[in-house]
Symmetry: C3
Subunit: 323 residues, 3 copies
């Protein structure tokens, strides 16, 4: 499988550097071709002075916020009541600076595309939105505590609250969703989705920042869960790995282009449990207290307190002759 | 979609810094609200001098151990027989120090909650447990070699052992499980679960450290696999992506609280294959040599050498009129 | 649950260091046992002077290439037409150096195993293959633009092209696959698979570098998708989370060893949509314009323009007595 010696045409040339790096001298041609390609592309171009938001910074902001919400569990360790205020104060200030900047970048980008952006107005708005967001954190503490309790009450393998905060992916994904959802509600673009896709990457749980989720929410294991943009979930709901709350038969305009923004995902009322790998598709309503069994596939609504399981499937069983 | 200017009430105030950072001056109020919220929270509080275990360090320990087990494949490259002993010696010493400390932190935290921890006893126990753990590594070499072979024998796309060690997620998840399981057996809390949730994050494979897994084990592709706490798996077992070995109908006490610790996951005997997205739920036994087809959903036991596949499902087919 | 004090036999010895670090002095024994184990292992051994490829460097190369393909979106931010050529030039040169080295390491390893490697020939071949690869990047721009458009046209939740590039996991996995596939076609071993397993890790989407994928390809959500080595996918195909294009009943030789390299995965023709968690297994052909519904499990071919959905399953519904 020895590869052909490509990338060079004509007889070998002499020269010391040439013999050491036979194709390096041809790199400028690749650079030119690349620049030409970038210049001509049809979809996206971002060659201009203002910077776009940075995923790396967004992830850093999420880590700082988790330190603020759970001091001692994430980030620096070892506090007492005397030094905690300084630590929280420092974290909140740093988060504010980074987040304000990232939000401002989003405003600049959005307004540039719709005309001309007033940069200093964008940066002022960035600071205001970052502040509005940080003001909500204390109230989120209580909501997140409810999620921790829901995890403990829903998983017989959980040994205590600590374990849930240390490492439950379902808890992390929900925490990040709750943060992203607030920014989404404030009308900030890109950042909320970058946040939830980060959560998706580290947990396998894909929750659109637009989804509305009640209190006391728990996703166990979680890999493969998808919760679509217009889903609405009540209180005390529990989901397992592989559950999809998805769309079904997208609407298009006469030109065949997708319509966007209309309600196309399920509403899940309070006290519902949906077991592993079940799918609920379309703008249906699952009534309060219902239980949907593993692998069930539903595109219709359910009355409250309905239990749905798949019928025992008919399997082909066959006993192998033991040799 | 220009956001309202929130976070400030009353008329704009003058002042140079104010006009540059309009909401920064209000951050101390957010810090106070946050500190008050942290102080009042009901679930977890960790404002005290002793540090909790650190996920970052646990991940570093896992990386060091993989360098010890597969020198040349992970971490630093390029050894000969002369320098290998120094390298392995250094790695084992560093691992010992880091791991002893992390284990000690777990003992401190656990014993603090059950009364008062003798810190120096915790640190001594941490060193002892780290040592016990490291003593098991040479024996694990052989077990892991069996897993590498099982992967090669089970996947027609595998080109050799190297590829499996370089990048097979199933192999990584199983390696980390085997390490975590030993610590779990030693009675160390939190760390084993932090380890397996790290594996879950990078592979999509969620194996509880309590699960008992035999030799020659292979998970192909692996995303979405869940293996519950009380599962027991024999030798020469192979699983594919999306397989769940899960619980089914949790038991509760009279108060409605979950019972914990009892056997609630399957036992998979030797030489069983379970294909993609199949689920086996509850404390059932899958007999030796059985084969469970893709998408099968089982809540009952199988006799040895049973093959189960779903019946060819009845589909609604519809030929579209070709325009 | 205080652990037994293991790892030391005989009566405790005196000595200052001993009492501080009771088991540290025994670490040399662990190191010896480990070295002996490494020496005797049957599968893989890599104690020799030449270095193996490094996953870390491969990931760095992928990040550099994404900066080249989407300047301003990944990596450094803020360009104008004057500085872009320098930036792209620098990135291409760095990528060339790193990639040439990694490819060379693969050639050294491969040829060493088949006899004796001429190191300088390996390094020259590494440079040539890196150059050939880089020459393909400008053409890839156009293909990737098609993928971005396909994502926008296929997802009602997408707000624009930017969002897709910033954070759609399906787009990232496909971009990395297209890069890895080119190296795979050039006969470079290990690196392509390390690349696609990196994509798998960050997206949950597992595409073998050998799979052939047409233009305008979109995977939505994506967690759990598996696309096997010998799959062939046409233009304008769309897949959802959990879709498997997999093998079915592997062939073995008389010794029971797996046969490798033959066609064992599906061919998906142009304009096909496969919804969430559907599986298509074996070397079947799904005809142009077909639509496969969620959860469908297929091991047979489909004529063009066939729509397959599962029959409305018979569920056991049960109304709970509301307390």
């Amino acid at each position: 499988m020895r590869p052909e010696t490509g990338g060079r045409s004509g007889p070998p040339r002499s020269g010391e550097f040439d013999s050491i790096f036979p194709s390096r001298e041809n790199l400028p041609g690749v650079v030119s071709a690349m620049l030409q390609g970038l210049d001509q592309r049809q979809t996206v171009q971002h060659v201009c002075r203002y910077p776009l938001p940075s995923e790396e910074t967004v992830v850093r902001v999420l880590k700082l916020i988790s330190e603020i919400l759970f001091p001692g569990y994430f980030g620096q360790r070892g506090f007492d009541r005397a030094n905690l205020p300084f630590h929280i104060g420092e974290l909140i200030n740093t988060t504010y600076d980074l987040l304000a900047d990232e939000i401002a970048r989003c405003f600049v980008h959005e307004r540039h595309r719709n005309g001309r952006a007033d940069q200093s107005a964008c940066y002022e708005d960035g600071r205001n939105e970052a502040f509005r967001f940080l003001q909500k954190l204390p109230a989120l503490l209580d909501v997140l505590d409810g999620d921790v309790r829901a995890a403990y009450q829903g998983d017989p393998a959980a040994t205590g609250y600590d374990e849930i905060i240390f490492c439950y992916p379902g808890f992390r994904a929900v925490m990040i969703h709750r943060l992203a959802h607030e920014l989404h509600q404030q009308g900030v673009r890109w950042l909320p989705r970058i946040m939830t896709e980060y959560a998706h990457r580290i947990t396998g749980i894909d929750i659109h920042p637009g989804a509305v989720i009640g209190r006391h929410f728990f996703i166990d294991h979680g890999t493969g869960v998808v919760i679509g943009e217009t889903s609405a979930i009540g209180d005390n709901v529990r989901l397992y790995q592989g559950v999809t709350l998805g769309g079904y038969r997208f609407k298009t305009d006469e030109g065949g282009n997708l319509l966007r923004g209309y309600k196309r995902h399920p509403t899940i009322e309070d006290d519902v449990i949906i077991y592993s790998n079940a799918s609920v598709l379309g703008p249906v309503t699952i009534g309060q207290g219902s239980v949907i069994g593993a692998n069930v596939f539903l595109t219709r609504s359910l009355e409250p307190d309905t239990h749905v399981t798949i019928e025992t499937p008919r399997y082909r069983m066959r006993q192998r002759n033991t040799q």
